[in-house]
Amino acid sequence: MRKRSFWLALAALAAVVTMTAGGATAGSPQGALKPAAAGGTVILGADQEPKILNPFLTDGNLYWLSVIVGQVFEGSYELNNDGDYVKEMITDAAVTSNPFTVTYKLKPGLKWSDGTAITSKDYVSTLTTIMNKNWDITSRAGYEEIQRVQTPNALTARVVFKKPFAAWKDLFGALIPAHKVKGQNFNNTWANSIDISSGPFKFERWQKGSQLVLSKNTNYKSGQQAKINQVVFRFIPDTNTQFQAMRGGEVDMIAPQPQLQIADIKKQAGIKVQSGPEFAWEHLDIQLGNKGHLALRQPYVRQALVTGINRGQIAEALYKEIAPGLPVLRNAIFKPFEKSKYQAHAWQPFGFSQKKAISLLRAKGCTGGPATPSSKNTDIYSCPGVGKLSFRFFSTAGNQLRSLAFQIMQKQLKSVGIELVNRFRTGVFSVLPTGDWDLFLFTWIGSPDPSGSVEIHKCKGDQNYNAYCNNKVTKLLDASQNEVDPTKRVALMNEADKLMAKDLPTLPLFARPGFLISKSSVGNVLKNPTSEGPTWNSELWTVAK
């Protein structure tokens, strides 16, 4: 009996294994997936899962949530793949002065997914909801400058500002439906689902920890109706797994951070890789506050530091396989591809010169370091009154490209007698606002509107983590916020950038390239360099059968 039950158990195990192996399916790369219904489904691999679905609240402040709900909630303008503002739900936005006023004209016939008309009252509800201090709104920037919104008719919203506001196109990017939020606790609205849509897609379901599904909104009238039936976001936080899932056909599209694996996946048949610079710039911040190294408050030390770093070599080493020819950044506010705005300033006044770096230090009485640059050097300079030039270098652990950048900089600077000490760690951004660091390598993510740079560089700005303060720069940046003439605004900001280049509070490295990897069978996929993300034109996507 025991012998028989042993063999029965073994047979059962074999059956399970066979069933599992036999479940292997041949045929289409979709494997066990259901054949696409008419229109098809596109599956995106997302490396972050939202915590809630309300993009206005603090907990909804996540890039991938903005990518998801960007197709659910529309507004006045969107950013296209050239980084230009394009009218979305409006036919016109007329700007007048005295007082500064923007008059929006909505397209006629627009409806929410429940059939309710989209009207100018939705502009009012957007403003009042955002300005309501009871709700945990992430940012009220710009909306605080609005005095009132008038609604002379259902299709016209007249927004009157307290003073001229340059970044007005960034406002009302997603309208909040008046009929849905009236009397509701907005802090609890759209936590786990969204019951309304004004975009080409609407929310269908969210399997937490796994995927979120959007389906076509048949009431969408603002533009072309979606050609596909569904967009699915599968949450895959691990980058290596994202690539394997892309290779194996488990997802149709990924938008990874720059990775060396991109060079390999480019070679795979049936996969298209788009790359290009984004409104994100990699830079090395220098701490000028009390918790940083005393030496970094000396201009000559900062000059020696930046003169000893070969940015071109770093860009070449990191990106020659995946984004060859990446130019070095010479402006902390604008990017090279913003041709009408970008001005190259002298962020590295002496270029890259290890000899010059050493002479700058020795001229100020620094000792203990090499007289000439040497790759074998182990001596570190000490400078009068500020001590040894050994700096704590912070950045994100587990990022191959950042590790490589650090290793290159460390070697370059060691040759001239400056030491960089590795302080890479997970969760490193908790250190950034404390100011308790010397050098910090990270990426700022911005937008075509440069107003985000103001808080980074002005005295006591909200994102001024390196305690940089130049009153002239602050005055120029503040003035740019209220300058509505685009040309004059750009001039003010470039003037500020020129002054910052002399102070060297940071060293811009390069505009980080972005990548969009998709199956060739998904048509009309176009990379967008802004925070609109890969789904910006998802209503145009097609899926080849």
């Binding site: 066990a32 936080p237 909200d462």
Partner: protein, 321 residues
């Protein structure tokens, strides 16, 4: 036995309190739940201040700990500091997912380890014994993340070269599976294999060592001398006693692994306890981390107790007062 169980549970309570206070303090000191929010351009400072006051973020750590105790005991571990999202629904979901993974992996590991351990001991120094000894050491030495990645690459390469999908490399299920059970097995297979490999290696060594000790003992020699066949001697007389150390190890291991196989879940992007813990730790929100800790601690204490009880059941000489 009941007295023993009650006494063990009571001893655990101060241990849990001490562990929870220490972990809460470390997490609260080491991280800032508002860090990512503060980094956003043009973030509203009023909102940040409101959260700081509402969640007592500027109070001393012991005071914040008391607030957490109150939330945890009256409100199913309370809500997250940012966003005020209830913790229990997410935690219960990830517990179920990890349970599926871990139980499947441990069952597989136990079945294989028992077979390998018993056979290796009975056929000591045979080719089978040497092979599986080598395999065990390899299994113990292989980093989990490396094995996970290699299996992913292997499975994907098979798919690309032969157009056959055996297993999936990420998540727990497909978007619209035809057969939910089969789809789930195909998604869980690789992570189960990864966890099972290390467990099989460990358990089979214990089983082999215990079997060798038992089958060379006097009473087993007596059973052979009585004329019993080898299968009866091994399975009826030796096996049960050799199970004792393995049962103890498995019970203790299970308690820890149910806290989440962090590396495996991260690599395969499985929505489990390990990924839940890492995500909330990086975000610096102590409340979900504490909830995870309490669940894991209770499981460890529980399975320690189970180990003792099983030990007492398998070995009638052991009695608890």
């Amino acid at each position: 036995m009941l007295t023993y169980v009650i006494r063990r549970v009571l001893y655990s309570i101060p241990v849990l309190f001490a562990a929870s206070f220490l972990i809460f303090s470390f997490v609260a000191l080491a991280s800032d739940p508002l860090q990512f929010l503060r980094m956003q351009p043009r973030v509203d400072q009023t909102t940040i201040q409101k959260i700081i006051v509402r969640e007592h973020l500027e109070e001393p750590i012991p005071v914040r700990y008391v607030y957490w105790i109150k939330e945890a005991t009256t409100n199913k571990f309370g809500s997250t500091l940012i966003g005020d999202r209830p913790i229990w629904p997410d935690l219960s979901r990830v517990m179920k997912n990890t349970a599926q993974l871990v139980i499947a992996a441990e069952l597989l590991a136990i079945l294989l380890a028992v077979f390998i351990g018993v056979y290796s001991a009975v056929r000591q120094y045979s080719a089978f014994d040497y092979s599986f000894t080598t395999f065990s050491f390899l299994g113990l030495a292989t980093p989990v993340f490396w094995l996970a990645l290699m299996l992913q690459v292997l499975v994907v390469n098979i798919f690309l070269n032969y157009d056959i999908r055996i297993f999936y490399v990420s998540n727990l299920s497909s978007t619209d599976p035809d057969n939910f059970l089969l789809d789930r097995i195909q998604h869980l297979a690789l992570p189960v294999i990864v966890i099972a490999v290390a467990s099989v290696a460990q358990y089979s060594r214990y089983m082999r060592a215990a079997m060798l000790e038992v089958i060379n003992s006097d009473y087993v020699r007596t059973a052979r001398a009585k004329g019993l066949n080898e299968r009866t001697v091994v399975m009826k007389h030796a096996f049960r006693n050799a199970l004792i150390p393995l049962a103890t190890v498995v019970a203790l291991n299970l308690g820890g692994v149910l806290g989440g196989a962090v590396v495996t879940e991260t690599v395969f992007s499985l929505d489990g306890m390990g990924l839940y813990f890492i995500r909330n730790l990086v975000e610096g929100d102590p409340y979900p981390v504490m909830a995870w800790l309490m669940i894991t601690s209770v499981m460890i204490v529980f399975f320690n107790l189970v180990a003792d009880i099983v030990y007492g059941y398998l070995d009638p000489r052991v009695r608890y007062d």
